[in-house]
Structure formats: C-alpha cells, structure tokens
C-alpha cells in the first residue's frame, strides 16, 4: 500500500493473512526494523504472533498488504527461495526433522549456505556442544531443549540476514535460555535483523531493542523494549506482573 519509502531492513505494511483465504488471522499488521536490530513480539496465546512470522517467511497466502526486505517486496515469493536468499525461520512447533539424525538435519540446513557445509556445521557444533554429543542420534530422540538447540542451529547455520525466531527459549533451561538470548546481540551486530516472538517476556525484552505487542491479530502497541517492560498496564496484561500476588492471595 505505502511502498513509497522503502529502505533496507524488514518492512511489514498492513499485512492481512491467514490459513484459509478470506479468514484472516492477522489483520493490518505493520512493523518495521533495520538490520542489526532485535525486535520482539509479545502477546497472548493465539494472538497471531506465529502466524505473522510464517506470513513473513512466505508460508501463508497473504490477503492484503506487503512484506518487503531490503527494498524488495517479498510477498508471494516461495519460502524456499526466501530461505535461499537469507530469511531463516525457527518455527515454534515441528522445527526439526525427527526421523533424520542431527547430522543430517544440520547438513540439510547447510545446503543453502555458500561455504562448504562442513565448516558451517562445525561452527554450529562449537556453538551448541550438546549437538556434537548427539551428532548421530535421531533428532526425534532428543530432549525438548536439545531439539530447540538443533532448530536454532539449523537457522543459524546458513548465516541469514533476517532471522525469525518463534519462541527460541521455550523448553530451554534458564541457563541455556540466557545463553541463547545472549547470543542474539552478537549476531545482530553482523547486520542481521532478528525478529523474535517470546513468552519468556522479561528475558527477551532485556536483549531486544524494540518490541511490538500483538493481540487478536492486530498491532496493539509498539515501543522501546525497556520502556515496555516497565509499562505497568502492559506488564499486568502480558507479563503477569502484580496480579499474581492478588490471585495467589485469593486462591492459596
């Protein structure tokens, strides 16, 4: 709609998309970010956060609106071509090939990077040593957290320029979550745009630059990450602050 002033980075303009044409899950969602930025999306369950990421990655048919990346409209481009051109998505569910070994998962993901797969895969094994330990195991036998590592490694292995993370810390131990989230600023500094969805809101906001709040499929709020974290109203609605005590007092 307003494709006039495109600039580098990711631009989502009044995007309306869903799984069945004519039954949109997200409506008129807009979002903009530059390379090097970490942006977090928060919102209640079923708000449409994952749907948004999937739509950006080209997995859904878009009813209206556009997504553009680096001055190029990417709506309508097939997910594999997007992936080849530097968009990586870590889905929330079903994010590894269960019947394949860890090695095969990584090598498969590394097909789209230019350098030889061995180097790229080795980098990932250094980053996530647990994957090296279970290198030949069937990915389906990994523990919940180990799967998450693998899924993230599969996205990172291709050195993407846009990284879409759907709840990367879910299922990770506190320590691992910190490590993974802590990795992000470093990655962003290599001019990667990182858009993530998180329910581990506080931890996510600490590493994010900006954040959007999504509810009922629409943009509800947008702002600086730190400011959002300290916003009392949003805190209560989306982060469970304060009300906890009230409820705990009532029911226990």
């Amino acid at each position: 709609m307003m494709a006039t002033q495109l600039s580098t980075g990711l631009h989502v303009d009044e995007l309306t998309a869903g799984y069945v044409p004519g039954m949109p899950i997200i409506s008129d969602v807009s979002l903009a970010m530059k390379h090097g930025e970490i942006v977090c999306i928060i919102g209640p369950n079923g708000a449409g956060k994952s749907t948004l990421l999937k739509a950006i990655a080209g997995l859904l048919s878009v009813d209206s609106g556009t997504v553009s990346l680096d001055d190029r409209v990417i709506t309508g481009i097939s997910p594999d071509r997007l992936s080849q051109s530097g968009v990586a998505l870590v889905p929330q569910l079903d994010n590894i090939f269960r019947t394949m070994s860890v090695e095969q998962n990584l090598r498969l993901a590394a097909r789209r990077c230019e350098e030889p797969w061995r180097q790229a895969v080795d980098d990932m094994l250094t980053l996530f040593p647990v994957l090296a330990e279970r290198y030949t195991s069937r990915a389906g036998s990994l523990s919940g957290g180990q799967r998450q590592f693998l899924a993230i490694a599969m996205a990172l292995v291709a050195s993407p320029s846009l990284l879409l993370l759907d709840e990367p810390s879910a299922g990770l131990s506190p320590k691992a979550a910190q490590e993974v989230l802590g990795m992000l600023p470093g990655i962003a500094r290599t001019r990667v745009a990182i858009l993530m969805v998180e329910q581990n809101v506080r931890a996510a906001l600490t590493v994010s630059d900006r954040a959007y709040v999504l509810a009922e499929g629409r943009n509800q709020h947008e702002g600086d990450a730190r400011a959002l974290m300290n916003d009392p109203v949003l805190g209560e609605i989306y982060m469970g602050a304060r009300r906890v005590e009230a409820h705990a007092a009532k029911s226990v």
Binding site: G18, P24, S27, P44, G46, E216, G217
Partner: protein, 328 residues
C-alpha cells in the same frame, strides 16, 4: 418399464450389499484408522460360512448342516468375526501399510484355501446348492428380486443406524482418538489395542454380512468372487464417497458401482459393433478416469468427514479472530 425397474432393483441389491462392506470398512478405516487390505477374507468367510451352514449335504466334502437361513446368516457373520478376532489379535501391533499387507496376506491365504481345499469349499468350482430363502414361496423372479432388495435395504438401514449411533457416541470419539494419536489416547487411560480390535471385528462382521448376502443372492460363491479386485473396489467406494462419513460410504458405493457397471452399459450402447471388442478395455479406462476425476474434484470424498463427533451446539463457534482476546 418393468425391465428398467427390474434392472434397477438388481443393481441396487448388489450396490447395497457392497455398501454394507463399505460401511464396515468405514468403521475400520474411516473412524479407527485401520488399514484393512484383506476385505475379501472377511467377505469370503461370511459367504462361505453361510453357504456351508445353510446348504445341503455335499457328496465329497464338508457340509450338510442345512441350517435355517437366519441361523446360516448369523453363522456366516460369526465366522468372519472369529476370523477377524484371530487376525486382529495377531496384527494389533501393526500400523498403516504394514497392517494392510498383513491383512492382504490373510485374504490371499483365504482365497488360496477356497481355491484348493476342495473338501471344504468345493475348490475352484465354487459352492452352490444353497436355496435362496423363500424363493419357492414367492415364485415370481421379479417379485423375489424386489423382496430381496427390500430385505437388503433393511439390513443396510439397520447397519447404518447402528454405526451412526456408534460413531456419534463416546465410543466413536474413542475410535477417532485411537486413529488420531494412539500415544495420547493411552496417556488418557484408553486401551488402543482393545479399541482397535473391537472396531476391526465389528467391521469384519459387517463385511461377513455383506458376503453372506452376496452369496445368498447369487445362490453361489466361488474363489473368483474373492479376487483382490473386490478389496480395491470397496476401498475405492469408501475413498470416493468420503471416509469417516457413513453417508459418504453409502453414496460412494452407489457412485462407484454405478460408474463401474454404467460405463460398460454406456459404451455398448454407443459403440458400433466392431468396436465392442475394445469396450472392455475402454470401460476400465473410463472407470479409472471417473475415480481419478472424482478424487481430484472432491479430494476428501463426496461427503467428507465431519470434524465434530457430536451433535451438541458449540458455545461460540465462528472465526477465532472476532472473539475477544484471552487476557484483555
């Protein structure tokens, strides 16, 4: 006119007999996810069981029970149920294609037995000698066929009602749950093995009923009736009609069987005599095309499965997006 009615009654009789087997398969596959590749085994058990139990004495083989028709019919059904129980127990651990090939093996073994064990089944010649019940009483062939059609219709209706009641009950929900996610079903205290076995046996007994009625109507059964093509036909009927939907199963039977024989009739009606030699092959091509196009047109069947198993109203269905968010 009477000719058309007579033919239609005949057509419907066979179609409805097959519909019973399709309904049985729908219970197994459509609702429970059991990939039964050996329908003819149970169909055959019902048919042979009924003829053996109800037929007269045979010179060179087992027989001579001469039970009354209802008993023979029940006996045939019971025999297929028994076979299903044994097969089911042996194959409860198998899924998908593995179950299909195992049951297919049972069917082939059954066909082999029928073809070779002359003392039991008359061998390749088949079994006859069974009198159609009440035929002599009715006398007129046309009237008898009409009567038989109504009898079959009654059977189909009862089976349909029974299955509709089943699948819309908690039992039906249980069947689906086992089909959808066995592990989850187990974690909720359900015993998938028992559920699968029950559905398998009930479905097989319906196939047995179908076989028994088939043999009654033709007053004859032979291994040629148990060729694997029957299994495919029954499956095609279910898939075209819509697996998981009992109405779909019946509609699919009528459509596929209608297309199968109708195409032959149509071709001889329009083809000049010298081409009639080739109408057999063309008929197959037509049948194949009808199946393929029907599936392309309605991939989930003519009457697809419904999502909900019960008829109670939901509080607020509709598009999720128009509802209020959780936390606001």
């Amino acid at each position: 006119m009477i000719g058309i009615i007579s033919y239609l009654a005949f057509f419907l009789t066979i179609a409805l007999i097959l519909a019973i087997a399709v309904l049985g398969l729908n219970l197994q596959w459509g609702h429970t996810g059991l990939f039964n590749g050996g329908i003819v085994a149970f169909f055959g058990a019902g048919a042979y069981g009924m003829v053996l139990l109800g037929g007269p004495d045979r010179v060179d083989g087992l027989g001579g029970f001469s039970l009354s028709y209802p008993l023979a019919l029940l006996g045939g059904i019971a025999l297929s149920g028994l076979l299903a129980l044994i097969v089911g127990l042996a194959t409860t651990r198998l899924r998908h294609d593995y179950l299909a090939i195992a049951t297919f093996g049972v069917a082939i073994a059954m066909e082999s037995l029928m073809r070779n064990a002359t003392w039991l089944t008359g061998g390749a010649t088949g079994l006859r000698g069974f009198e159609r019940p009440l035929e002599a009483f009715v006398g007129n062939a046309f009237a008898y066929n009409l009567l038989f059609m109504f009898f079959v219709l009654l059977c189909v209706s009862l089976v349909y009602l029974f299955l509709e009641t089943l699948v819309h009950s908690p039992f039906g929900r249980l069947l689906r749950a086992v089909r959808e996610n066995e592990r989850a079903a187990r974690s909720l205290g359900k015993s998938p093995a028992a559920v699968r076995l029950t559905a398998f046996v009930i479905g097989a007994m319906l196939m047995g009923l179908s076989g028994a009625l088939y043999a009654t109507f033709y007053a004859f059964i032979s291994p040629q009736d148990l060729a694997p093509i029957l299994t495919f036909q029954i499956w095609a009927m279910l898939i075209v009609g819509g697996s998981g939907n009992n109405k779909g199963a019946v509609v699919g039977t009528l459509v596929v069987w209608g297309a199968w024989v109708g195409s032959g009739w149509l071709l001889t009606a329009i083809a000049p005599t010298h081409l009639q030699l080739y109408t057999g092959s063309i008929q197959y091509i037509l049948v194949g095309s009808i199946i393929v196009f029907s599936l392309l047109w309605r991939p989930r069947g003519l009457l697809p499965e419904k999502l909900s198993t019960h008829s109670y109203p939901l509080p607020e269905p509709g598009a999720p997006n128009q509802q209020t968010g959780s936390a606001s």
